[in-house]
Symmetry: C2
Subunit: 352 residues, 2 copies
Amino acid sequence: MANHVKLAKGNADRPARKRATSYDVAELAGVSQSAVSRVFQAGASASKDMRDRVLSAANKLGYRPNAIARGLITQRSNMVAVVISRQTNLYYPEVLVQLTQRFSEHGIRVLLFTLEHERDIDGVIEQVLQYQVDGVITAAILNDAQLDTVENAGIPVIFYNRTLPERLVNSVRCDQEEGERWLVSQLAAAGHKRFAIVSGPDDSSVSMERTQGALQKLRELSIADVLIVSGDYGYASGRAAFSEIMQRMGGVPDAVIAANDVMAIGCVDEARETNYLRVPEDVSIVGFDGVGPARYAAYDLSTVRQPVGRMSEAAVSMLIERIESPGLSPEKRVFSGDRIIGGSALLADSNS
Amino acid sequence: MANHVKLAKGNADRPARKRATSYDVAELAGVSQSAVSRVFQAGASASKDMRDRVLSAANKLGYRPNAIARGLITQRSNMVAVVISRQTNLYYPEVLVQLTQRFSEHGIRVLLFTLEHERDIDGVIEQVLQYQVDGVITAAILNDAQLDTVENAGIPVIFYNRTLPERLVNSVRCDQEEGERWLVSQLAAAGHKRFAIVSGPDDSSVSMERTQGALQKLRELSIADVLIVSGDYGYASGRAAFSEIMQRMGGVPDAVIAANDVMAIGCVDEARETNYLRVPEDVSIVGFDGVGPARYAAYDLSTVRQPVGRMSEAAVSMLIERIESPGLSPEKRVFSGDRIIGGSALLADSNS
């Protein structure tokens, strides 16, 4: 905490003020506190005279009904927690804006929790519980014990782009496997044979699903010898990964499958700038996510775009349903990604 | 609000549960409610036996001290509002992560408010007050009446990258004017004469400061005939702006000054792809912000980077100081941007 700085004289323009309470308003208006509550409660009755007196007093005192105190009575805080991990991936800020705006339309505010890494979730859970949020949307994975803790507190959880396969959980996901399988089949059908994969951080379940999805399809196509190098979702790590691929393969791969667009962009730049390769003529590079820079003309990535709008809409409506009706059975919603054919890779459908 | 869906039978695995209160814990532990409070209050005394009994009961019931109820007593909610406008500008997500993590170190959570446009601030203010936050950091401008409303509620406000020049306010800013003046003087000293400016949205005070800063310096250098076109901070608007510049100038400008990096990237792509121009040989293009894509090799922007880390640290510490000591006099902190010489523009110092 910051120090308590005591000043001999405060700024006269900005005195420390106590917030006006409903009791202050009741006293000034000459009515009961419960009358003040009724005036500020949607659907409750109050005479016009009563309403005028209370609103006039409230206005004079700068009183506003306390959403939080009301929440203590209704057992609703009208706040939900959104947990995201550090945004090296440009994709999440867009999700966050969408979630916040959609909740806002329902009178619900977002309490934000950011993790440096997905594995830092433990400390966050205790905080989430202390703030008595009505629900949680998490873009970080919880283990069984962590999920137990939150569910035992009566708080519904929606996993965003994650799920626990062995358990009844609510989740909204983009179909990572399906997207990767499409990319691989397109690349293979265009004649590519030497593949490399750039995976994301070890603790990213999304990266794991994407990498596994690509590997599985490659195996099915009898392409067994695939080099996997790892990055951290960031641009620099994409450049380093491409350089590592060149070294370890002792030459140029036919195709590089990056676990996100930002690393794919790093691969494109490293291929061009350091290795004087043409993209896609000398090497095909694909990403995943459909972030803004993927559409910059210098990159024009072939990629799979997550339908952020529909996914965030689904997450918000699923969470609100479960806040209102705690007994609802779990649901998993999986959205197909949009298939984007850009100029960064030779795909079977490139010229169709 | 979502409909109240009534189900004949809920999911037996996930019953609706009421949150355990301190009274429930007290009953189970056979102690008073105030004893439970003491156990969970930092610095308050409780015997080891008392502590063991309370913690054991709390654990059985899944009880956690209610940070919000505690806030009602201490007049602190331990929440602050962060208001941002829609993130077409890639710069703000980074700010948001930094602010959230720094507040978190002080046990303070961020309640997030997003605006489609800066002018939508009015509706947000009422919400901010209802949630009884301890303070506000706003990346949207407030007018005098709006600021009065918040200050009258006793809530300190820090303007982020904005200020009200006629008024005593707290603000943390990057020196937009200084940054633009440096860019212009570098471009002019390199021999550029025909200038165009791509401004941001009309309701962005940051865009206005940047545009005015550039214009002022151009006037001082007796370069009076400057074309100004406007964008919305997005990539597509940067491309459209460059195209409009070519048309209205009837040829290629020497230098384009974009109000942010993303629009500068759009200008670079439109110059190269549509007009077959070389950057910087045929046209110099500069941005502002220092976002990640500005360092992608295909763009390598000359720009001014906002010192996000130091700015967010300053905003957090200023707000916490003012929450602890409401009488503190206002302070304005202005940070110089970091000057980045990239390959997108011929600058006087390019070869130094």
